[in-house]
Every structure is written in structure tokens, then in C-alpha cells.
Symmetry: D3
Subunit: 322 residues, 6 copies
């Protein structure tokens, strides 16, 4: 089976792909005829496709986010590759293919990511912090296995959120070693909790965010996580006025650093300052890495990246211009 990234015109091919998008359109002819305007994808990339002479049954059979077996031809249309689909059918259980094989995902298995997060949570010394962190993980544990960290900004793929947390935990551990005055318990907790409500803020399927939820819009993940901490403390009998609860809520509430970036308070503990900058460092570098990964190696510049002041990234080559 050929990967999307490996197809070139005028290949003929047969394979399984994900119908990432599907729209029914009409030709300009009289009478107009229906056709499918499709995006096919696998984990290596995606391509537009057309399927002509669509039947009424087809329109009921093929839906976005379903797996299909396709026989097609690769053509060039206005300088871009496009697939003309000759035959198409839905994948069935006997085909032995799985949705998750066809989507972009974190480079580490979700189960390992969640394991690392839970293990780190368990290593927190302070019993109250440990209890609260465990409670919050419990609310989204299943979604942590597949949710992205954002709609498009960064780590926007299967298990991207868990991957972001794990990389930040590595950084956090290093920074705590370098600066022992930081309280490691709060750093670990802050990293795990800072985006913990994102799976309830967004509605995602297979790592792709389709919308924000009503609580996501009206409350936002920052205030939601803060409320979860209140909830955890009440359920566990931890004092709501304790420095433990205040410190955890402060970490979550301040981690976007500025009001215009969504934080109602600015970092005012050492750990909150550290959390914001660890988050920024990891998110920005991941944007760069993702952009480079999805740009052909022959291209010196990536697409522009919204989270990086709308700049593109250039591949430095010390051999150039010598």
C-alpha cells in the first residue's frame, strides 16, 4: 500500500485511506450532476480527490472520518496533485485496518505518555497536591489518550496534549535540578494541570478539533481547571484557603502570563513564572518542529506559523553561501 506522501502523477494505485473531508458538489453541466469533493489522508499526509457520477446510495454510504479502500489515478491539476477515484468502498472489519493508523499522532504511544504522567503524579511528595492532581487526571484520563493540545496552534494531533505534558515534565525536572529553590511538587502539578481541562474545552475526534464546547467558550479551560481544583479539594477535605490549593489554582490561572492572553492573574510565585516559560519554550519549539516535519526537505522555508508572529522558519545550512 502506497503512502500518500509517496504518490506522484501519473501513478495508478489501490489502498486504504481515511476520508478526512467529503462534500457533495454539483457540476456546471445541464442537468447538474453530483460528485464528491474529497480529502484523502493517511499518517504521512493528505491529497484532494474527486469521485464523479455519485449515486444516491453513495451519498448515504460515504461520510467524513470513515476508512475506505480506493482505486485511483494521480493527476496534476493546476500544478498540484489530485486523485481521480475510479472505485471506492468502505473498509470492513475483515480488512484489518484501524483508524488510528491513518492519522497524525504523537511520536510516543499514548499509553506510554499517560503512564509517564500518572507515574510523575504519583511521585509528588505532598499528599494534598498528589490527591488533587490525581483527581483532575481522573476526570480526563480517557481523553488524555487521544486529545490534541490545541485546535491548530501546536501539538494539534492525536495524543498531542499528553505528549506536550510529558515533554514539559522532562524540562521541568531539568529546571528543578538547575534551580533547587523551586518546589518540584508544584512544578510537576502545574505542568500536569495547566491544560488539563482542554479535553472538556474542545470537541475532538482522532486528534482533530472540530469545535469548542459550550463550557469551553463560556468558561474556558483555565477557569475550568481552577474549578476542578476547588472540586477536588472539597471532595477530599483539603482546605480551600490553604497555600496548596491557592498555589495550584494560581499556577493554572496565571500560566498564560498576561490578561490579553487569557490569564486573569499574572505569575506571582516562582513556580508560576517557571511554568509559563517552560510551557512557552515547549509549545514554540514544537510549532517549529511540526512545521519543519511537514515541509519537504528541499524547501528552505516552512509555511508561516501563526504562533510565531506569523513568520516562516528557514532551514539554516552552514554550507550555503560559502
Amino acid at each position: 500500500m502506497t503512502l500518500i506522501r509517496q504518490l506522484s502523477a501519473p501513478d495508478e494505485f489501490v489502498g486504504f485511506y481515511l476520508l478526512k473531508e467529503l462534500e457533495v458538489k454539483q457540476t456546471n453541466s445541464t442537468p447538474a450532476k453530483d460528485y464528491f469533493d474529497i480529502v484523502l489522508c493517511d499518517a504521512s499526509g493528505q491529497l484532494p480527490a474527486k469521485y464523479w457520477d455519485v449515486t444516491v446510495t453513495d451519498k448515504e454510504t460515504f461520510l467524513p472520518m470513515g476508512l475506505v479502500k480506493v482505486q485511483g489515478i494521480v493527476q496534476t491539476y493546476r500544478d498540484r496533485l489530485q486523485v481521480k477515484i475510479m472505485r471506492i468502498r468502505k473498509a470492513v472489519e475483515a480488512d484489518g485496518v484501524s483508524l488510528t493508523d491513518f492519522i497524525r499522532s504523537a511520536p510516543i504511544r499514548p499509553i506510554d505518555l499517560v503512564h509517564t504522567i500518572k507515574q510523575t503524579a504519583g511521585s509528588i511528595d505532598d499528599p494534598d497536591i498528589r490527591t488533587i492532581v490525581a483527581y483532575c487526571i481522573g476526570k480526563v484520563e480517557e481523553k488524555l489518550m487521544h486529545y490534541p493540545a490545541a485546535k491548530t496552534h501546536h501539538h494539534a494531533y492525536f495524543a498531542g496534549l499528553a505528549y506536550h505534558i510529558v515533554r514539559m515534565l522532562e524540562l521541568g525536572e531539568f529546571v528543578c535540578r538547575q534551580r533547587p529553590f523551586l518546589q518540584a511538587d508544584f512544578i510537576k502539578a502545574g505542568i500536569i494541570l495547566h491544560d488539563i481541562a482542554k479535553p472538556e474545552e474542545m470537541i475532538a475526534q482522532l486528534g482533530i478539533v472540530t469545535d469548542y464546547s459550550v463550557p469551553g467558550k463560556l468558561i474556558g479551560h483555565i477557569s475550568m481547571a481552577s474549578s476542578w481544583i476547588t472540586e477536588a479539594a472539597i471532595r477530599s477535605g483539603i482546605g480551600l484557603e490553604s497555600d496548596t490549593v491557592l498555589g495550584l489554582q494560581h499556577l493554572v490561572l496565571s500560566h498564560h502570563n498576561l490578561g490579553e492572553w487569557g490569564s486573569p492573574v499574572q505569575p506571582q510565585t516562582a513556580e508560576a513564572v517557571a511554568l509559563h516559560h517552560i510551557d512557552a519554550l515547549d509549545a514554540k519549539l514544537q510549532m517549529v518542529e511540526d512545521a519543519l516535519d511537514t515541509t519537504p526537505e528541499t524547501e528552505p522555508w516552512t509555511q508561516t506559523i501563526r504562533g510565531l508572529e506569523n513568520k516562516a522558519i528557514y532551514r539554516l545550512n552552514p554550507g550555503n553561501g560559502q
Copy 2:
């Protein structure tokens, strides 16, 4: 007993006043001698005062925010009035004077303000909203009797917060009549809850804020009130995901309108839009009214007002310039 506002040089007077500020200073003479640099106030205003030849006992006897009986002379020093204190003693119970008579306060009795607030809370139709509002009032009911609405910005006096809420409730009632599509329960609740955590955000005595509390700085009154709603819902068995809870939290979280003004989310319900503008209208007009009240009527301009783009307010007199 003469009111502060009525004193003029070279009056000699005797009366009870509040020692609003007191600092021990030293003269430049050799050897240096201690004296008191004092601010005397009553509900009508305040004046600087000096008390010379302070004894060790005096320094232990007289403390800020205490009531005193003063015999003094009003003098002019660099174009401003100043009191030279001849005799001073602490007020005693037999004097029959009460602290609250000497401070600036809302023009309506605190007990009536709180009564109005509780009555309005009780008139909310929706039982869940009514329960949550009552719970939150319960947390600060005693402080509502005397807390100001802000440190200096607006309603910065005894029971200023309760007064602000009551005036907003009047406005809210009018707006709901004018625009029946607004849900009155949410408007009432939003007005009562929007600043309900301010008494825990600030540390105040007699209507004067001396500092912000630790939770006030790390969490802020907006997120604190949002957590109280969570707490109220848990304690009362109201669903945390219900539109009732979301709607109330959204009102509180969004009432500052913009991120740079402290709101993590922007108004996205009709009632939240109304709440922000009712709050703004009442707070800004009160700033104007307070500035005009504390400016002598002969002065055409007030002091500049920080909350009004640092502008002073001019008293229009349609008779001028004709």
C-alpha cells in the same frame, strides 16, 4: 462640635475626631524631638495636624484609626489649613461617640442595603440560582455591612460595595423592563455575585482598604467568586455542567469585559453583556458623583479621576459665558 469641613483659621475648637493617620517624626533641632504628624478626619472631610512634644506614653497611647478628643487651633501653613493640637486624649466609652460616625459611608444605612440585596436574592424565581446566590451572600454577609467596593477607584467607603450592588439592582430592574428578552434571574444574580468576593480579595477596616489578601493577589476576586459558585453547587447538589452554573460563572468571569481588564472570557450571553455595561455605568457615574461631592462648590473642576482616563470633571453652568 464643629465639622472638619467647617473649620477655618484661626478657629479654636474642641471636638471628637478620628485619628486616620499618625506618624511619629523628629524635629531637625539638636537634640531631635519627637512629634506627631497626624491626619484628623470626620465624615465631612479631613485636615493635617501636628502635636508637638510627644511623650513616650503618647507614642503607645495614640494609634491610627482611634477616636480622640482634641483641643486645637486652626492655622494656615503654606496656603493650607493645619491644626496645631494643644490637648489630646483618647475617646472613652462614656463619651458616647462611635467610630462609624466619623467615616465616610454610603448614603443609605448598611443594614438597609444588605436587606435589599437579600430581598432581591430571595425574589429570584429559579431555585438553583436562588440557592447559589444565597450561599455566596452567606460567605460575606457580615463584611457586606461595611466593605468598600474598591481600594480607591469607586465606592471607596463604608458599605460602598453594598451600595454599588443596590444601585446596580435598580438599573438592572429598569433594563429588564425595557428589554424583556433578558432573563431577570440571571441579571439579579449577576449583579449580586459580580463583586461578591471583593471582601475576601481586600483587607479593609471602616471602609478603608489597607491591602490585598494573599488569595486576592494570587487568584483575584473574579476567579474566587467563580470557585464559590462551584462550591455552592457541590454543597447543594446542583449539576456543575448545568446552564445555571455555567451561566452564573460566565457572568462573574466576563464582567470586566476584556482580558486586559482581568476577565478570562468575554461576555457571550445577553445577560453578561448587560451586566458589564450596568456595572460600568454605575461605577463611572459614582466616580463622578464622589469627585463632585468632595470638591468645594466654588471650584469649577474636580481633581483628576484615574478611572476616567485621568480626566477632571467640569461643573457645567448654563449661566456662564452668556
Copy 3:
């Protein structure tokens, strides 16, 4: 006759509608044929329509903003309703239909709105203020009967400006009762004058703004209204340096509050502060009300609203999520 809002596919219908927009387009066939790409509307809403096989006479007969009688079929095209027009003719006098029945307009009759405005203007005690207000109303009285308050922002429909003024006058009356230190004459005058030059700033037909006028662009409605006050004072022999004239000009000039919102000075009288916030409260709530009114009741969210930080409004339903 069926209202636009009530049509659904595959209805066949006959009725009178307004040709809100009409563009002549060409088919892709060879030779290309002309057709009309149309927007039909009535007071309840609007629908796209196509009229095929257009003749040369048709192109001269049918023009935007004209009333037509249409026989058509409602179809679904790419998930949206669209009318296929079978027959069309211009409405004639004998049809007894009137343009104003087919457009969106304020919920109160224009004649009543203008009557209220003039009555309030007449109730101003100060003769100079009353004279100036009457003079300015006189300049646009006819246009007040139908002009919108803005191009798209708020009250963007027939007599929207007069409606905005009337609702603000209600609010202003309430606020003056609540805060007697405000001078009611200036509040009434400020409300009536603040947008009084908008009909000269914009070019509108049937409540729909098509462009800004040259003075509208070069001077703007704020400075235009300020000049009208100068003009009124000169014509009526009122002193240009009087507090009356200064106070009225200040109300108009400052009512957008900030330089970046178009006000060359910031509010510096009590009445100017009140005017800005009364204006904001009414305009923002009307945006919300208009958005909710034009959103099907089954939709929980409206479209995004530019004047509200580009946020959509959510319909809170206390029954949800219980």
C-alpha cells in the same frame, strides 16, 4: 402570501418580495447565457434566488430595491435553501403593496419615534439648549423618519437611528431620576444630538446604508454635529463661548469616549460620562437583541457580532445540563 422565513423545500409559491440585490451573471456554457443572481427579502428575512434565461428587456426592467411579484420553487442547494424563479414581474400600483412592508424596521412606528424625540426636545427647560436641539433636529427631521443608526454595527434598519435615540431617552430619564445631580437638560440634549449628523454622514435607502458621504468621510458625524451646534448658536444669537454651547459640543465630541474610537476629547462633564455609557449600554444590548432575533430559536449560538469583540451570543437555558 408566504413569509420568507416560512418557506421550505420543495414549496411552490407566489408572492410579492423586495429585490434586495440583483446581479447579472453569465453561465459557463458556450455561448454563455445571462442569468440573474438575486436576493429576495421581506421583513422576515431573505433568500438567494436564480432567474435563468434573462432577456435584454429583463435587464432593463429589474433593478435592486424594487418590488416584484414572483412565482417560484424552493430548492436545496449545498445544504441551503434557494429559490428557482419561474415567473417574475414588477409590482404595480394596483397591487397595493408598499416597499416599507418588505424591509426590516424598528418595532415602533417612525412617526411615533420622531414624535417622542421632538416632544422630549420641547420639554427641555433651558431655552438656549432647547433652541439648539430644535435647530439640529430640523436639519434631519425627514431623514430621522427612516435612517438606520449605523451601516452594520447596530440598529442597522429602517428608522433605527430614531429608535436608538428613543430607547436612550428612556434610559436617560431613569438615570436622571436615580442620580439627581445630573442636569436633565444636557442629558436629553446629548442623547438627541450625539448621532444627529449620522443621516448626513451616510447615504441610506430604506434603512440600508450603501456608502458614506464625502463630508461623512472628511469630517465625520461627530465634528459635523459640533459644527451644527455652532451654526445653531450663530443663527439664534446664542453666545459661542457660553457653557451651554461648550457643554453641548463637549457631549457630542466626547461621546465615543476615546481618541481611537473617534472622539477628539474625552468626557469631562458628568453628563458626558453618563451619555457615553447610556449609548454603549443601549447599542450593545440592541446588537445582542438583533442577533438573537435573526437566529432561529433552535440555534443555541448567534453569528459572531463585530461590536462585541467578535463573540457570538449563547442562549442560556436554565433547564440544560441538569
Copy 4:
């Protein structure tokens, strides 16, 4: 008579100076004694001075902005020069000294500046523009002889406003020659009118602004000048809707370029774009020139200049660092 700039410690001197500032202060001794804390100035600069053992008569005799004859000694106090006044008396007519000899003023005689302005105004071809410009000059002609262009920003001295206008007229003439598509009449008129209302916006004496006027604060010089154009047109029977009036008002209203700098509209004619940049070029360079002129030549850096992003100006010396 020695110029202020030429005095050094421990000179003894006698001469006439201007009492620019005078404050009565008290010594710390017991009993306190009154003394004068004074600023003496002449056209070359200013120096602080002290006059001890002040009598009651002295306090009535000596007032700020009066000319005095002084016998004094120059001393060094904390690294700065200060005058100890031994004898002082008011200047009398017989002394033959004139206030204007003692203040900073434009380098060209006011009468010549105003002459140039009026001559240029008279050279305007278009009769309506000429009429309006003459009318506006007429309103402030006497004040043009001595008003500064700003409180502290630039040209803050005797006849500074007229000087600013004249230099801009020179620049404007050059730019019109360089770019003939510009209409010279509008350029001349725009330069003369752009700040023409400043003498009514500010209250100044001898080129020193002490405050802003009530119309200055409530309306601002930009809108005031715009109203004067309206007034001129009405009085002269020129159409208020003519391009002439619109064009002149637009020049005045837009010359600060941005809303946050006080312009309610942005430049939208060629001449308005030119006016803004001619104004900026002249004002900024004058700030630089004034700062260099009042900095001793041995100092490489001037004081910081608020209108130049709070930067100081460095004197480049191509001989340095070779």
C-alpha cells in the same frame, strides 16, 4: 549687567531680572521665619535664588512675573549655582527695562512673523479660502504676537506659535514647488489654520502657558478651529457644504493624523497628508534645536525630550574617536 548664563561662583553682581517664580517658605528654626524661594531669569537662562528675612511688606511687594533689581552673590549649593540675594527692589519705569527683554522668544520679531503670516494669507488665490483664513487670523491676531505653540512640547516661548507657522510656510512653499499637484492655497491655509485656536485653548503670559482654558479642555483647539471655519463661512456667506469648507475643516481636523493623537478623522486629501508631515518635521526639529540651544556646548547630551520618545539628543562630533 551680567547675563544669567554668565554668572559663576563666587560673583557679586547687580542687575535687573525677571522673578519667574516666587514661593514663600518657612525655615525649620523655632520660631520659623519666612524666606523667598525664587527663580530669577533673563533671556539667557535662569537660576534659583534665596532671599532671607522676608518682611510682611516684601510678601505683598514681590510677585511672580515681575521685574526686579537685585544685588546678590553667586554660591554653590550641592553642586549647583544658587544666588543669595542681598538686596532687592521692584523695577520702576525710570529703570527703562522691559519685560520682553527678559524672556525667551522666537529669533524673529513677532511683528515680522505676523506680517509674513498675513502676507501669505493675502496671497491665497481662492477668494473663499482667503476670506476664511483672514477671518480666523482676525480672531487671534493680537495673541499671535506673543503666544507659544505649546505648553512644553515645542516652540514653548514668546511668539513661538507664529514662528512655527512661518517656518512651516517656508517648508510648505518648497514642497509645493517640488510637487506641483498639491494645491498651494490649501497648503498655505492648512498651515495657518492648523493651530490657530491654540491661543484660545491655552492661557499664556509672556510666552509661558500656565493652564488650559475651559474650551481648551472641553473642545480642544482642533475642534475649536473647525468651528471657527464654520463661523467664518456663515458670516461670509460661503456654502458650508462646499469643498472649500470641507477641505479646510478636514485639514484642521486631521492634522494630528491619528485618533489617539487627537484627530477625529485621518488625512484623506493630498494636502492633509502634506500638512501633517510638514508640521511633524518642523515641530520635531525645533524640539531638537531648542534642546541643543539650552544645553551647554560642553555637554554631549541634551536633557531627554518628551516629544522624541523621551530620548536625549547627542551632539555628533566627527572628530571623536578617530
Copy 5:
């Protein structure tokens, strides 16, 4: 031969034009056929054109930025003129036409512009400044003959950069006469050097910028020019710490005035303040002049201009509205 600007429907014409843009598109018919979507231009303007029934050879023959001979018919398509090309062939040497006759360019011959720049550079008195300026001109002298000053902002045409420099030199000379404290050598040098690296920042052909270069993006023309001064000083043995080198680098680095406009330092010498404002005055007026030149004289408004706060320019006509 007819100029583009003079063509109107339904002219038939033959002439030479520049193929400014050319895209191969497909018709909607089955089977789809290729056609050319073309922009034809000459120095007077441009028009869209279609060429149907394109052959494989055509697709290899016709490329953007080539000269062609065209026989065509002018048609009206959706209210705009469009050319239907009947016959087309590439221009050959025997046709005697030259690319540069068909593009927009500065109104003065490039050779004369560069001559003026070099002559002014030669007139600099200070030998070090003269040397450095000559060195930098040397790096781009050939490109100065044709490079534009910007991609779209201003002077975006053949030799636009040299033209901008020459006009600024005229202004600079005038300002130095008006304010003799300015050091003319630095003014001349600053004007010549301020944009001197633009030809290396951008990639342009025939005065049209197609992209930014890698150094242009990573370093920017401001820092590039600063490095060239370093380079010139090293190669010529001029002290890198001298006021000469600092002063020149400061002129270049600060000429955008603010950090958000790309200047790492703000103007801190008299000449740097002058340079920024001379640059602004010339660039903004040229934007206005270019917009007016390319707008038909019958149109009262130009297109909006990005560099002028996105405002359009209005042609004032003192005869209007009388």
C-alpha cells in the same frame, strides 16, 4: 499603437504589450480545455485578457514578463473591460520594442538619478563619510539603476529607489538651509544610505518585487546597511568607534523611528530626527501622488492606501458644492 489606458469597448486593436501575468486555466466543459488568463500592461496601465484554445506549444512559448504582439477585441465583462485575444505572438528583435518602454518607471531617467546621487555623495566634505558612502553605493550601483523602493508601499516601480533618494536629497538640502545647525554631510549620507541595502533585501525584475531574499528576511535592510558601514570602515581603515561611523550607523538603524516599525534604536541625533521625517514626508506624498496618477481623473476617490492608515484620497475641488 494604442495605450492600454485609451482602450474602450468594443475597440479592435493591434499592438505590443507586456505579458505581466499569465496563468493556464481549464474551462468547465467536458473535456476541459486549456486557456490563458492573462494580464497585459504597458506604462499607462493594465487590462485582463483571455486567450482561448491554447496549444501545447503556446504553453511553452508564452511566459510572464515577456513582450508580445496582440490582436484583440475589447469587451465588457461584469462591468469591467477585458480583452479577447484573437492572435498573439512573441515580440522579436526586429520589432524594435524594448521591455522598459512597457513598465511604470520614475519620471526621471535612471542614469540621471544615479548621477545626482553620486554627485551629492562626492560633495560631502568629510572624507571618512564620503568614503563610506561611496563604498556602499558601489555595492548596489547597478541595481540602483532599476530597483523600486518597496514591494508595494511606495515608489514601487522601475528606479523608484533612486528617485526616492533624489527627492529626499532636495528636501534635505532645503532643510539644511533652513536649519544651519544640522550637519549637511550627515544629512546627505543618511539620505543616501538609509535604504541602500534594499536592493539586496528584495528580489526585483523591471521594478517589480517578486520576493524578499534570505538575508532580507533574516537580517533586514536596516541591519544589512549597518553592516556595510562596518565593512566600509574596516576596508578603508576608519575607526569603528569614531563618531563618524557611529553617527552613520545610527542614522540607518534609527530611520524607521520606532521598534515596532523595525528600528532597533530611536533617533538620538539631530540629523537622525531630520532623516526620519524627511523620509516620511517624501514617502507618504509619493504614495498620494502615485494613487492619484493611477486613478481616472473622473473618479473623486483613489483606492485605499495601506501606508496611509488604509484611507483613500479625495480630490478636493474648490468649485464643488458652491
Copy 6:
């Protein structure tokens, strides 16, 4: 010898201290007498001190930044400690005390810091990068032994710059291990070069910055370092257009991330993005650490920190509020 931090009233003590600040003042008595207003410091902190009855010789003997031996008494003056100096003399060689023992400095020996920097520079694989880095270090190697990283912002003490670089190198090494797509040579070089010109931008003594240099103000350390790279490349024959030189200059120029923070270009290589965030993380955490170190452990809040949005830092204590 007692450390400053350990002194309390009414201690009598003798010891060596640094005269950090010294001002000659006059008493208010008649005649006025000179006294010294002094700040004494050692590496543990600082205290104000007074020395009365100063002689003419004293004024010539004692200068700021000199070491002195002091016999004094600790007193309380207005709630703060203050030293009354009984005897004072300059330290002499025989005292065996060294200035550097009395100032705040990095927690690692300067010689070790510079060694680490040079060793890392030597470990760069690419010979051109290695050469350029070595050249730039060579320009400031001596100053690297003692310069602070900033005037007040962060690392504002002896060898603070070298310490900042070393900590960043540790972080950089970790990030390169975590994300192997980063080019370690550029990361090392960027960290060493990003602030390398600060010692020429500022004038410092003993780790205390007293002013900015002329090149520091006119060019700034960012552009200075960029020029040094040009210089290094020219002197070493490395191509100025090579990716090596562009990449290094880009790292330096972009490391402040935004124009308003002083960077003329924004990060556009992976390494530049990393550099900015490594710099931010280290600088911000050092601000926090320094603030906590200089705040008594009993104080829950530090002073406000300008570089952290003017917020103070709170010491979380998980035991509080339980």
C-alpha cells in the same frame, strides 16, 4: 567582623565595609554644618549611615566605592535601621581586605564561568562558527570576568553576564538533547553571542552599571554584536553572505523577539526561536531567585519586580492555611 545582614539595634560594632554611596549634605541649623549621608554595604546587604561633623579633609578623603573601616552604633530611625558612624578611616593595603569581598557577585567564580564559556566555544564543531565566536569573546574577555548582565533587570551583579551565559548553556545543552533537530553549534554560539556586546553598551564598575556608553545608546548591544560578527568574518575571510554569518547575525538580532523589545527582525530559524525562550526562561527565573534571596525569609512577599509585570513574588508554604 559582623555582616551587614546580621546587625541589629543597638549593636556597637567595628568592621570593614564598602562606601557604596556618599553624599555631602548640610544640616538645617544656623550655620549649616556638613555631614555625610552614606550607604554602607558588604556582600550580605546594605544599610544607611550618617557621619556628622565632617571636616574639609574628610570630604576629600572619602569617596564612593572605596573600602573603609568603621566604628558605629546601630539605631532605629523611623522603623528602619541606620548606622551612626563614630569613627571612620580608609582601608589600607595592610588591612588585607579586597573590594570584591564586599560586593554581590555570581555564586560561581568568574574565572570558572569564563573557562566554561571558552570551553564550550571551543567545542563548536563548525570551524567558521567557532572562529567567529572566539573572535567576539576576545573583544570582551576581560570584562566578562566582572560585568553584570543588565543595569537592574536581572543578573545585575559582579560577573552576572558570564553567569547568565553559563546557565543558558546548561539549558541549551538539555534542549538540544531533547530536540535533536536543533543545530547545537548555533545554539551554543547564539547563547554566547546574544549579549556579548553588553560590556561595551554599559559602563560598569564592580558589577554595578553607572551609565550606558555612547555606542550603547546610539547603536545598542544587539546591532553592535551583529557588527562584530561582520568584523570577525572579514578578519577571518569568512563569506559575509554565508548561512553561517547570516544565521549568527539572525540569532543576535532576533533574540529580543519583538520590535518593541528591540529586535529589528523576529526569530525565523529553529535555533533563534529556541534562543529567545532559553534566554527568557533563565532571565525571568534569575529575577525571581535574586528577589527571594534578598528578601528576609520571614517576609512572604518580595519587592515588586519590574521585569515580571511589576508583580511581587509570594513564597508558597504548603503548610499555610491547612
